[in-house]
Amino acid sequence: MDRFHLLLAALSVMLILTVLRSLRQERIRVEHSVSWLAGGLVLLALSLFPRVLAEAGEWLGLSGAPLAVLMLALAVFVAIFYRQSRALSELKDMNITLTQRLAIVEFELRSRDEART
């Protein structure tokens, strides 16, 4: 294994371990960790099987394995960021709905209290 693939393997393992640690500490939800773990595993597999990477690079018309890794990593992370953006949008929608509902419930409770007194 050359230095490049070694570095790639080390980074992939670090990514996977970091995500697993965050999961254990409940800093990331399982559904949000899946895409990061999948990305880490894909990169680890590519580093362990250099021939796959070389053939993929050739198929994509890229000269050299590092460039192929870069492109693949970019594609993986774009997909992950898209997934995260969707999750953020859903959370924002829920947050707005909850904020509005909370304000309305507080308003109604206050109105009831005022009607009683």
């Binding site: 947050n95 707005i96 904020t99 509005q100 909370l102 304000a103 309305i104 507080e106 308003f107 109105s111």
Partner: protein, 236 residues
């Protein structure tokens, strides 16, 4: 409006302590018994206290949601409480509540779902900023083929809606810069609107939230919102 029609006046407000008291007092003097609801979008100043002191009920949002989320919260409450008509005016005093009866008359007479109070172009003395005028001109051009009719001021926040539009907006309402997108939301449901010319006034205090820098973001955001609403599947 018939005697049974229940109307609410809705005033979204964010950091409007300098104007909101006067706006509420004036509205109550014109509208009599009509409930006035100020939706306080988590202001950092005394907006809520001033509004309550002037006799308004206040729906206080615990987080700042922006204009669309703030207005929709008011629509949701009005819908829950069973109001038939909601009139929305700005909290900075630009809209004259004495124009409200004319908006209501058009709403009743024409049977449309929404009536917009727009600036009378023949009004002397009062001019909006160049940026705003340019934006309005651009969106008027854009909206004409989409709505199938001309619109005089798609950015106006002086609006009366009936129960059908209230029902729709309490479920679906654009969250930022909502006025233009709301027209497209209405059009997608084949709802109609009319415009009534009104005398707009300079704001009592404060400045517009749409600064020169934000105006570019505004245009891009609203453009995207308009096209997303066109592409979106409608749910009646």
């Amino acid at each position: 409006m018939s005697a049974e029609t229940r109307m609410m006046l809705l005033i979204p407000a964010y950091n409007e302590e300098a104007a909101i008291g006067e706006v509420v007092t004036e509205a109550r003097s014109v509208l009599g018994d009509v409930p006035v609801l100020v939706v306080d979008d988590c202001s950092r100043d005394a907006t809520r206290l001033r509004a309550e002191a002037a006799g308004a009920r206040v729906l206080a949002l615990p987080c700042h949601l922006g204009l669309g989320g703030c207005v929709q919260a008011g629509y949701k409450l009005a819908h829950d409480l069973g109001f038939d008509v909601v009139v929305r005016i700005d909290g900075d005093g630009q809209h004259d509540p004495r124009d409200i009866p004319r908006l209501l008359e058009v709403l009743r007479r024409t049977g449309v779902e929404m009536v917009i109070g727009v600036r009378d172009p023949s009004q002397p003395g009062f001019r909006t900023s160049l940026i705003r005028r340019t934006g309005i001109a651009f969106f008027k051009l854009l909206l004409r083929p989409i709505l199938g009719r001309p619109v005089a001021d798609p950015t106006s926040g002086f609006v009366a809606v009936d129960r059908r539009a209230l029902n729709l907006f309490s479920r679906t309402f654009p969250l930022e810069y909502p006025e233009i997108e709301a027209l497209v939301v209405l059009q997608r449901r084949r709802f109609r609107f009319e415009e009534v010319r009104c005398q707009m006034r300079p704001r009592l205090a404060g400045r517009s939230t749409i600064t020169a820098l934000k105006s570019v973001y505004y245009v891009v955001h609203v453009l995207l919102g308009v096209f997303v609403n066109i592409l979106r599947r409608t749910r009646i």
